[in-house]
Symmetry: C2
Subunit: 421 residues, 2 copies
């Protein structure tokens, strides 16, 4: 009566899914739309920075040789022959004991090789001309930002796979990337199954609940960097589900279904995979929640059969679907970032299965601290709201005490971790 | 010749800006568009969860009283009178020694008060009827998820100001929030000033550089949760700038300009504030970079005069503009989140000013570690790309050595910190 399934370890399950990883595609978007996207190529310097010798200060550009005799006792006088701001280029040929008044960021006049800060000079007028004098000598090269000092043309500045942040936006603009090569967002199909599901704007009915998984998974897909195509809800009817799943898969890069993967009498996904000739990679994982998570592949396309239980659904997506998405976004480290953290509560009850406890990661005196984000019952959606991490409690006979160190997986991070964890 | 300005401490500058903080406004968006937005109201449970007594397992619903005599030696037999999945409601009136086959999530039949897991039963057919038998007794209430067990109608589930994450999406859907009250995004105007600025798709010209600040700040605005209205570039001409700034301010919640706030001969912002009768809150802050950051207010609207230097511009936004935006997004803690981290390099040169060093925050063995994200010269945009934090090095005579603890400000965080830091 009850189908017997063979639970496999989490690591083995992840490995089976990762065999079907695919590279992403590149598309070019305007720099105005690139914030938050993932770079599909390394970004190189298209020119030296600065691309001309420039003044880092407000002051005077001079020939250093003319300053040699200056001292506290002996002021040296310069005639100010030009006055340039950033973006201007002096047309004067600066000669002996001449100076150009220069603003921060302006290009050095060709004959000059030092800048004297404004506050070290004394300015005055004489016979209708402008002068300044100084009381100390300068060396050739003093106070100049030289061409190529910050970056040389051809340097790799940012590696592909990086999420574009404000600093990267600045670099893209500096080097003229009006169009930015970014990873095309994978398109993830989504079906919720279950006769018990109401729409979000439906009034409650006896025995029924509102469909929350679709909204949750859609947000998880978006957070992971992909686009979602929501196909709707499916009733627990075999033929309807079969046709819907088969046709949806053709339209997307991978398909997620929620519900219908357990061994209940209305769980049709196993039979659907069978009729589709999809290869089931696994249908039971030695973990809680999410043990019934099922992943199949049809012609290399992945079908993620996530549990209808919200917490199990959430975990299944993050462990199995997200790394496949991250690969298509050119990420180097595909898996949830793993760190060590200190447990702030006791888990006294041993558990034979590896548990992924939705948790809140905080920092205390520079140390990562982890505590469950709510009552840890797998049917409670509330505890997901405060979760920014999973704590991993390995299965076995031991309990876990306050103050002990445990592995945690970060949910809001884009650095990632290598596999195996 | 050089205008003397009075640098004020960072804390004092922040305080002067925060006097002009304003509350945000609420708007309702579809749940499909609410991910990543900020809640403008507390979210309460609109019904009990579960809203009916339900089975957490696949199994049989029975009257516990009928199981009392069951034992290893004495099987007790039940007639299976109905079969319900999640979303269905049994129409049978369950009598003595009768059972309903029930799936996970289905509503308990009215007469039943216990669920027996499928694997603890033995099923068989007899005379065309279906039976199951058990070998142990159950108590009333065994294996039932009771109405209201997870949440009671009226409970506050999520506080306003929270950024909507996948778990919150699930809660919103569960409780029928088809329209979600979120903070209206403040609209931040942006002008870049400087004759030296080229557009991102312009070829380089002698003495000129591409405008990178606008793209950077636009991304910072978006990251902070607001919308940007980019007005374009302004040449260093007083009248043009004055008219542009004045008219732009009317169209936005606050206005950012980059450049033109120093004491160079083409720095017109001070004169513009003057002509607008704007009150300058400060024009010099005892910090590096960003010492020339200027903030003014006109009729309660803030004008942020950020430095034209990319790093100074970046810091100025995060310290002074971001908290004002966060307030309008109903955040509880308005300022960049502060934590302690361990320094991985030496800073041997003492500095009289408080420094905000753009840095990369990592975790090692559960401890926060901080290192500069690049060469720390304020004109180098490259080091901004890897920055996910600022390290704060207080001004003074001391140096900072590897292994010592310093304050850090997190740039990609939405938890925030209270003021004063």
């Amino acid at each position: 009566m009850v189908e017997r399934r063979n639970p496999i370890p989490v690591a083995e399950a992840v490995q089976r899914v990762m065999k079907y990883q695919k590279n992403g595609q590149t598309e070019y978007v305007s720099i105005n739309e690139s914030f938050g996207r993932y770079l599909a190529e390394h970004i190189t310097a298209t020119n030296d920075v600065p691309h001309f010798d420039r003044s880092p200060y407000d002051g005077f550009a001079v020939r250093a040789v003319d300053t040699k005799e200056a001292s506290q006792e002996n002021s040296v006088e310069f005639e100010v022959v030009d006055h340039i701001g950033a973006g201007m280029v002096s047309k004067e040929k600066v000669g002996a004991f001449q100076a150009v008044r220069i603003m921060t960021g302006a290009q050095m006049p060709a004959q000059c090789d030092a800048v004297i800060m404004l506050e070290l000079t004394k300015g005055y007028e004489k016979n209708g001309k402008t002068y300044m004098s100084i009381k100390r000598p300068f060396n050739s090269g003093d106070n100049i930002s030289f061409r190529g000092e910050d970056a040389k043309e051809g340097d790799i500045l940012i590696k592909k796979g990086m999420k574009i942040n404000p600093g990267i936006q600045a670099i893209l603009a500096t080097f003229g990337y009006a169009k930015v090569p970014v990873a095309k967002k994978p398109l993830i199909g989504l079906y919720a199954t279950g006769t018990e599901l109401l729409d979000v704007d439906d009034p409650l009915e006896p025995g029924k609940i509102r469909n929350s998984n679709s909204y949750m998974i859609a947000a998880q897909i978006e957070r992971a960097g992909a686009d979602v195509k929501y196909f709707g809800k499916l009733p627990d009817e075999f033929e309807t589900c079969y046709e819907a799943v088969k046709s949806a898969l053709d339209q997307v890069d991978m398909l997620i279904t929620t519900g219908g993967v357990s061994v209940g009498d209305y769980d049709y996904l196993p039979a659907i995979y069978d009729k589709m000739n999809a290869e089931v990679l696994f249908n039971k994982v030695a973990m809680r929640p999410g043990s019934v998570t099922t992943v199949a592949q049809a012609n290399g396309k992945l079908l993620f059969g996530l549990s209808g239980n919200p917490s199990a659904c959430y975990v299944g997506f993050e462990l199995f679907t997200r790394p496949i998405i991250r690969k298509m976004l050119f990420a180097e480290k595909l898996h949830l970032r793993k760190e060590r953290a200190i447990l702030t509560v006791d888990f006294l009850k041993a558990n034979p299965f590896t548990r992924f406890v939705r948790s809140t990661l905080t920092v205390q005196d520079g140390k990562l601290m982890i505590s469950p984000s709510g009552v840890d019952k797998s049917n409670i959606v509330m505890s997901l709201a405060g979760a920014n991490a999973f704590m991993i409690l390995p299965g076995g006979t031991r309990s876990f005490l306050t103050g002990s160190e445990v592995d945690v997986l970060l949910l809001e991070d884009f650095t990632g971790s290598e596999w195996p964890w």
